[in-house]
């Protein structure tokens, strides 16, 4: 989407998007970093401030709308995608964002999440995944690892976790990405891409809960090792990682990706090349992670498909073009009528 086509908007700054409410996340929460990145991106998008709407469900992340000086709606647990769908259908010109968490989006709201994705409603979804229930003080979430010991699973969880990116791909999402709370530059670029995408943009943001699940992503964010544990996806580029960019992902036997060391006759030409439009590759990437693979971050998948909101709008435009603007008196008289007196 070209920003040149946007209406002229007075230059906005981060300050314009800060609300007057005190931010009440725990000190050290990853949500602060995400808020900072989003506040940095919003003024650059060429959208008038009043056209932004942030909606959320319930959970720590869902307090987000209170801290952004746009229109906002803190709704009920899991239902923000449904409420956002209604808003976007009614007002297609608005820039609609849903902020949610792993419990909100994937547990209580799982149904709404998959349906907004398959419908491809033009809404941006930021899913803060800290793999724990924070606001209810530390129960395991649908992304917590098997065996996780929490207050509600004192001898370990026996739930198999969701992979949010794989869930989104399974629901035929047209834009699926992942970033990390503290990777500000990367996160901001992903958020910009999400905004530019027409259709539902799904962004998983790995986020640290320093109270109930501290260090869940430490291996991914620790400066000493992150070059070895992150696989930064770039469209059209081979899947290379490592501090010395000396490792890559190759397709092994039987469609199984494998990590290979570059050199000794293995070159970048032998590696998988990232293609955001290839659903199979996206699925491979969605299943990668420790201990055998680095964790991919960036845009997994981005394709064009008609948006529900626009398609419905088109039907209305077409109906009006064919039948003319609705005439209520004619409609009331439809069918067999008879006159008395």
């Amino acid at each position: 989407m070209s920003t040149a086509q946007e209406p002229a908007v007075p230059a906005l700054t981060r300050k314009d998007f800060e609300s007057d409410q005190d931010v009440r996340w725990c000190p050290g929460c990853g949500d602060y970093a995400i808020l900072a990145s989003v506040l940095r991106v919003l003024p650059t998008l060429g959208v008038p401030r009043e056209n932004f709407v942030f909606l959320s469900g319930i959970g720590c992340s869902s307090r987000f709308p209170y801290y952004v000086n746009t229109y906002g709606f803190h709704t009920i647990h899991g239902r923000a995608p449904a409420i956002a769908t209604g808003l976007k259908i009614a007002r297609p010109e608005l820039s609609v964002w849903v902020v949610t968490g792993d419990g909100d989006a994937l547990s209580i709201g799982g149904n709404h999440l998959i349906h907004i994705l398959r419908r491809n409603v033009d809404v941006n979804i930021l899913l803060f995944n800290n793999r724990i229930y924070g606001l209810t003080k530390g129960q395991y979430s649908p992304t917590s690892e098997f065996g996780k010991v929490t207050k509600s699973t004192p001898i370990g969880s026996v739930d198999h976790p969701f992979h949010p990116v794989a869930v989104a791909l399974g629901a035929d999402a047209t834009f699926v990405a992942r970033s990390v709370d503290v990777e500000a530059k990367h996160l901001q670029e992903v958020v910009r891409r999400a905004h530019a995408h027409r259709g539902t943009a799904f962004v998983e943001i790995l986020q640290n809960c320093n109270i109930f699940n501290d260090g869940a992503f430490e291996a991914l964010t620790d400066k000493a090792v992150k070059a070895e544990t992150q696989l930064v996806l770039e469209h059209g580029k081979p899947l290379v990682f490592g501090k010395n960019r000396d490792k890559g992902i190759r397709l092994g036997s039987g469609l199984r990706p494998e990590v290979v060391a570059l050199g000794n006759g293995v070159g970048e030409d032998d590696l998988l090349v990232h293609d955001e439009q290839d659903p199979t590759l996206a699925y491979f990437l969605s299943r990668m992670g420790p201990p055998d693979f680095p964790t991919p971050i960036g845009v997994f998948h981005a394709v064009e498909r008609p948006c529900y909101d626009r398609a419905l709008d088109d039907q209305i435009t077409t109906a009006r073009a064919r039948q003319g603007e609705g005439d209520l008196d004619a409609l009331l008289d439809r069918g067999d009528t008879w006159d008395v007196g």
């Binding site: 209170y66 709606f73 803190h74 009920i76 209604g86 349906h115 409609l331 009528t337 008395v340």
Partner: protein, 625 residues
């Protein structure tokens, strides 16, 4: 509009007897097209100028086993030369397409003594009798003594009419319903034009079926004229009804039109979020065809998403509507609480059915009143309106939208399967006659606070995203009055709970004075709500005509109740509250007004009969003396 001239039947040459009112019932397998012929006979009767009331009655299964008792589908119509309030207690004529259809209706006690039974003789085979659990053939064993039996070879007549049509046997048999309809049209001297037009439209892409159904319809009509089975035709003269243009309308269609009309008069687009559920789905189907009016319908993934989307649309400035039945409204309860908290306009239409759980999905009941009143977490009041008749669904839906906007509140619209599917003639309004609904968005940032209330209605301002300078946040957390900022202060919470309640109670100030039909004071007041209107009206009309001091008050506004209700209750010595539940309004009225009102309950999935109502009121009259 004239259909093919050659098809226009001449008036019969047989003697014609005049009747005041006739109740007919078409019954057959659920695949026999009984709803179609019932609807067509209704339209024919409406065009003949009769007042009428209908009751479609079909099983929950789409196609129960053919010929079985469970698969019987019926359509009852009461048409009259005077005012009609109900589909009629019992039938003068039953058209039964098979033994099961006969048996169900005989057992029902829904036939008058001496009723005419028009039966498809050929279907009374051993196999079909077994399916209908008949030990012997009722045509021969005396079961039908006391009725006028007309065995007609409906199947054979249909087949004969379609000799050389090139249709398969199966296709031919599917035309049988029109043979029956043609015969009934002759018997009651109904105009065939509307049915011919319907056939022409329905089968415009299959000329062979258009021709076949037309031929069969005419064959049925002509059979009536030529057969010696029928010596007399009947006629029901036009009723005296207020002048104007009429159409037949079901409650669900009237509701859809009412919601649309309200959105037009408010100048805001209508948004429907809905999940299919019997008996509400027809509102979704109807509104889905209103695209040229800018109506957006969204078939959601579940009931919760349906109400959520409607609320999101309301936040965006649309008229948010969600339609459902009892089980669905339970699922919506949490989101309705959010709507109460954020004070956005929203209409929740509950088309009640036999409950709890899946219950009797295709049958009627009005047992969701207390759910509507109290079925949410916390102190969560909202206005509740109930429609009384199919046509009344229009005005009640319109009023529900008006209140939702004026008071910035969710509103529950109650209807039920009886009036949702039932039809009656409707004096069609003109758009320009409908009141305008003020629906203004605030755009002035000067002094704006999200919860700064209108002193008269206590409504907060409606500000929609996209309005510069009025950016604000709303949500489910308790908020400070005026500013709308999240606030956990104990006294603020109590203030907000009381303010929300006061706002809803304040709707009473706009409720028009109540109208009591029959006696304005005296022995017995029959207090009703919803679809019991027809039976109560008929009963009270009858008894008041006999000189009894009985009055009828029917409530459209169930929350808040009309401000004059307490005074009216005290004008009568007894108050009887008939309901298709175990006594819900009666409980509210007793609690609110400390009157010794008594309930009259019926929970059989079927509406009250007038005779039941008359008997119950008589008992009260006797006790009052």
């Amino acid at each position: 509009m004239e259909a093919a001239g050659s098809n226009k039947p001449a008036r019969t040459s047989k003697p014609i007897e005049t009747r005041d009112a006739v109740v007919v019932r078409f019954a057959g397998d659920s695949g026999d097209g009984m709803q179609v012929v019932g609807s067509q006979f209704t339209i024919e009767s409406a065009l003949a100028g009769n007042d009428l009331g209908t009751l479609p009655d079909y099983p929950a299964e789409i196609r129960a086993p053919a010929g079985s008792l469970a698969g019987v589908s019926g359509f009852q119509l009461n048409f009259s030369s005077h005012e009609v309030y109900t589909p009629g207690d019992s039938c003068d004529v039953l058209v039964a397409m098979n033994p099961a259809a006969l048996k169900v209706n005989l057992e029902d006690g829904s036939l008058k003594p001496g009723a005419m039974l028009i039966l498809d003789r050929e279907t009374f085979t051993d196999q079909n009798l077994r399916k209908a659990e008949y030990a012997s053939n009722p045509l021969a064993d005396g079961t039908l003594d006391g009725y006028q039996v007309f065995p007609v070879d409906i199947t054979k007549l249909t087949t004969n009419a379609l000799v050389n049509s090139g249709l398969s046997n199966k296709q031919i048999l599917r035309c049988k319903n029109f043979l029956a309809l043609g015969l009934m049209a002759w018997l009651f001297q109904r105009p065939l034009d509307p049915t011919l037009r319907w056939i022409a439209d329905k089968f415009k892409k299959t000329p062979e079926l258009l021709d076949a159904n037309t031929r069969v319809l005419m064959a049925g009509y002509n059979f009536g004229e030529t057969t010696e089975l029928f010596h007399t035709a009947y006629e029901v003269r036009p009723a005296e009804i207020a002048p104007g243009r009429y159409r037949n309308v079901t409650g669900n269609t009237a509701a859809a039109l009412g919601f649309l009309a309200a959105s037009r008069r408010a100048g805001r687009p209508l948004f429907l979020g809905s999940y299919p559920i019997t008996p509400a789905s027809d509102i979704l189907h109807e509104l889905a065809t209103y695209k040229s009016f800018g109506v957006r319908t969204f078939q959601a993934e579940d009931e919760i998403a349906a109400v959520g989307a409607a609320l999101g649309a309301a936040f965006g400035g649309a008229i948010g509507l969600t339609t459902t039945s009892g089980p669905g409204m339970c699922l919506k309860a949490e989101a309705m609480g959010l709507a109460v908290a954020v004070e956005l306009p929203l209409v929740i239409a509950d088309i009640q059915r036999g409950s709890p759980s899946t219950g009797l999905p295709t049958k009627t009941e009005q047992a969701d009143l207390l759910l509507a009143m109290y079925g949410r977490h916390g102190e969560c009041p909202l206005p509740i309106l109930a429609a009384a008749t199919p046509a009344d669904c229009f005005a009640t839906a319109f009023e529900a939208v008006r209140i939702a906007i004026r008071y910035m509140t969710p509103v529950i619209f109650l209807s039920d399967g009886y009036i949702a599917n039932g039809a009656e003639p409707w004096l069609i309004p003109r758009e320009s006659e409908l009141p305008a609904i003020a629906a203004t968005f605030r755009t002035d940032p000067e002094g704006y606070k999200p919860y700064l209330r209108d002193p008269e209605t206590l409504a907060r301002p409606w500000v929609v995203p996209g309005t510069p300078g009025l950016e604000h946040r709303i949500g489910g957390l308790e908020r400070e009055d005026v500013t709308g900022n999240v606030c956990y202060h104990p006294l603020n919470h109590e203030h907000m709970v009381r303010t929300r309640a006061r706002k809803v109670a304040g709707v009473a100030a706009e409720i028009p004075p109540s109208v009591v039909a029959g006696a304005p004071a005296g022995d017995v007041l029959v207090l009703g709500w919803g679809s019991t209107y027809g039976a109560i009206s008929s009963a009270v009309h009858e008894l008041h005509g006999e000189g009894a001091a009985v009055g009828h008050l029917h409530l459209r506004y169930l929350n808040p109740l009309p401000p004059d209700l307490g005074e009216i209750l005290r004008r009568f010595r007894r108050v009887l509250v008939p309901e298709m539940n175990l006594g819900q309004l009666v409980r509210l009225v007793r609690a609110e007004y400390l009157v010794d009102a008594v309930g009259l309950s019926k929970v059989q999935g079927r509406p009250f009969k007038v005779s039941e109502m008359v008997a119950a009121v008589r008992k009260q009259l006797e006790e009052a003396r």
